[in-house]
Amino acid sequence: DVKVTQSSRYLVKRTGEKVFLECVQDMDHENMFWYRQDPGLGLRLIYFSYDVKMKEKGDIPEGYSVSREKKERFSLILESASTNQTSMYLCASSLPGTSQETQYFGPGTRLLVL
């Protein structure tokens, strides 16, 4: 079974703080993704990575950065948290190779920015 873990289930931060969200997968997947989920908006892609040290912007990268120093780990960084970044953050991973790639998700981190 694919296992994707996220460092925290719930986080409360203050406006302006730097926030790190960590994601680890144990299936040697090349692809990793960060999404946020908001009511009525579905899942929106923030950043993704196809390999170590590689990163690509998704649909809503503003206010975020990422780091992929090791294959199994993909970190999402909020440089200066703002209240509009209060959301559910979801990490996913998949194998590359074809367009028919199932993504496997972690349990999510619910972030509240005060």
Binding site: L43, F48, P96, S99, T102, F105, G108
Partner: protein, 116 residues
């Protein structure tokens, strides 16, 4: 510009009856479609998928139907159970759909409630 649309934000069904969740897409280059199920405060879990070379895929109580000419897919759950109550997301991908290969385009989700 939504490429994957789930037009019903919610659906309520009686236990034991059929649940039908619908999804429409606009990009004819999508060739792989997936359904995910999501409980509150948890990550989405993969449910079932279908390739564009098929028109039906079945897994237990779950069946996905694909109508390429209508750019429409549906997820049937028979019989529905209270534990099926969750948000269901439709997603699509493709080799040359115009975005990055391997990325999934998600719909906004449909919240299914199965009443005992």
């Amino acid at each position: 510009d939504q490429q994957v649309k789930q037009n019903s934000p919610s659906l309520s069904v009686q236990e034991g009856r059929i649940s039908i969740l619908n999804c429409d897409y606009t990009n004819s280059m999508f060739d792989y479609f997936l359904w995910y199920k999501k409980y509150p405060a948890e990550g989405p879990t993969f449910l079932i998928s279908i390739s564009s070379i098929k028109d039906k895929n079945e897994d237990g109580r779950f069946t996905v139907f694909l109508n390429k000419s209508a750019k429409h897919l549906s997820l049937h759950i028979v019989p529905s159970q209270p534990g099926d109550s969750a948000v269901y997301f439709c997603a699509a991908s493709g080799f040359n759909y115009g975005g990055s290969q391997g990325n999934l385009i998600f719909g906004k989700g449909t919240k299914l409630s199965v009443k005992p």
